[in-house]
């Protein structure tokens, strides 16, 4: 409190919680740093804050009528090096660096481009980004450009390097896919003790530390215990991520992905665990169909900015070689002419009519998405899961509504050959 008062008196915008803003077709997005929030306001409210969209405010005002003017955040996979060798790694990370990985200078230039575009946050990941000696310098550069860097780490290595620079990040989450033996069952090796030690060490220097859990059928039953563990460690949040068929994860997807029954029970399970432990719960974008299944009300979800696939819209990914993608799980889009777009090309690529392909095609949805009350929010579910089943533009095959719809379709009778 004293630090906050001093900040207010000294005019420190970060601690005092000053606002930054960005114009959008529908109005504007205003960022608050205390409390941490992105606030979407309509044109009239934006005008009352002294903002003016000019001619761009002449068209349709609906929030979902068109992609944003730029992503809210970029997921930078700053290396694909990682010693852990997790069985389901979605990037297929390995001990050796991939060819053509960018260095500090290129990533700083990318952050300059993203900052100029109006991006608010970057999430740094890998591979294991804490092995990079220049991670702190990159985080400082993002801060200097008004972009808040956040970080995911396995906690298995690089802790000595991370602890002194932890305060440069907005939020740091440690990947913890289970407690004790369950960790090994999901990841293929026993790393629980080291990851847990990293959680304790990070929490001793920073409040905004959380857990990322990739949810599989192997650790689903342990979710309440993971929330309780987060509470014991005095963490700020638990974020649950759906297991995706990408990288090495594609080869073991059918063995580890959650069952339909687990998907249907996810939201009540998570909310009960959150209530019991008074722990903030976050679900990743691919879980929106499983939230909508419980019909919480489209207006309420819209107010809470609960969206499904926003790849190539609210977020973009950048591969270790700088290639721009719709999200971290997606392959880079096809070359534009003879050039594959990199993070440095974001401003030029963003407004191309065919940018990000299937990721922006959700408005032309098939049934049962087309008639779903949540479609404008959910946007057809996870494109990466749909692509794994053969068609990136098809409805998410694991959405409970899609499962029910397909089960109700009359099965085609096998035809006898005509002789």
């Amino acid at each position: 409190m004293i630090r906050r008062l001093r900040a207010l008196l000294a005019g420190d915008p970060e601690l005092a919680g000053a606002r930054a803003s960005r114009l959008e077709r529908f109005g504007a997005i205003v960022q608050l740093t205390r409390p941490r929030a992105l606030v979407f306001v309509d044109r009239e409210r934006a005008r009352s804050l002294g903002l003016d969209g000019g001619a761009a405010w002449q068209g349709p005002e609906a929030l979902d009528a068109a992609p944003l003017s730029a992503p809210l955040e970029a997921h930078l996979q700053i290396t694909n090096r990682c010693d852990a060798g997790c069985a389901g790694c979605y990037t297929g990370a390995s001990k050796a660096a991939g060819s053509g990985e960018w260095g500090l200078v290129e990533w700083q230039r990318a952050i300059d481009t993203l900052a100029d575009a109006g991006i608010f946050h970057v999430a740094l990941g890998g591979g294991e980004s804490t092995i990079l000696p220049w991670l702190g310098e990159l985080a400082a550069h993002a801060r200097a450009r008004g972009v808040i860097p956040n970080l995911t780490t396995s906690g298995l290595t690089g802790l000595d390097r991370l602890l002194p620079i932890a305060e440069r990040f907005g939020q740091i989450n440690v990947s913890l896919d289970g407690l004790g033996d369950t960790y090994a069952a999901v990841r293929g090796f026993d790393g629980f003790a080291r990851a847990d030690a990293a959680l304790r060490a990070l929490r001793s220097v920073k409040r905004e530390i959380g857990i990322n859990v990739v949810v599989t059928r192997a650790n689903y039953g342990e979710l309440p215990a993971i929330f309780a563990h987060a509470r014991r460690r005095r963490l700020s949040e638990v974020e649950l991520l759906r297991f995706k068929p990408a990288g090495r994860g594609a080869t073991i997807y059918d063995r580890l992905r959650c069952t339909d029954a687990q998907h249907r029970a996810l939201l009540p399970t998570v909310l009960a665990a959150s209530r019991a432990t008074r722990m903030r719960a976050k679900l990743d974008c691919s879980y929106t169909p499983m939230i909508a299944h419980h019909d919480p009300g489209a207006a309420l979800l819209a107010q809470l900015a609960v969206y499904g696939c926003t790849g190539g819209d609210f977020l973009v990914g950048v591969k270790p070689n700088g290639a721009l993608t719709a999200c971290s799980f997606a392959a880079p889009p096809p070359p534009h002419g003879d050039h594959r777009p990199s993070a440095l090309d974001l401003p030029a690529y963003w407004n191309q009519p065919d940018a990000f392909g299937a990721f922006r095609s959700w408005r032309a949805a098939a049934e049962p998405c087309a008639s779903c009350a949540y479609h404008a929010l959910c946007r057809g579910g996870c494109r990466v899961v749909s692509a794994h089943r053969g068609d990136a533009r098809a409805p998410d095959p694991e959405c409970p509504r899609v499962v029910d719809h397909r089960a109700a379709q009359p099965r085609e009778k096998p035809r006898l050959p005509v002789v």
Partner: protein
């Protein structure tokens, strides 16, 4: 009675450290629409009272043309 000027369309709480997907805070679903209704005027006051940190980002929005979605 002061009539609110314009609307808050959505509030995305927290920051996303996850470098693979976009996380949303679902804790509010425990309390439902009432909690959101209570929080909205507070958020409205905060965005009005806080001083701008910097000029709005240099974003150039394309001017809509007939036929735009």
């Amino acid at each position: 009675m002061i009539r609110p000027r314009g609307k808050i369309l959505a509030v995305k709480w927290g920051m996303n450290p996850n470098s693979s997907s976009l996380g949303v805070d679902v804790t509010f679903l425990l309390f439902g629409a009432t909690a959101v209704a209570l929080a909205t005027p507070i958020v409205a006051a905060l965005i009005r009272w806080r001083k701008p940190a910097a000029p709005a980002a240099a974003v150039t929005l394309p001017t809509p043309t007939p036929g735009d979605p």
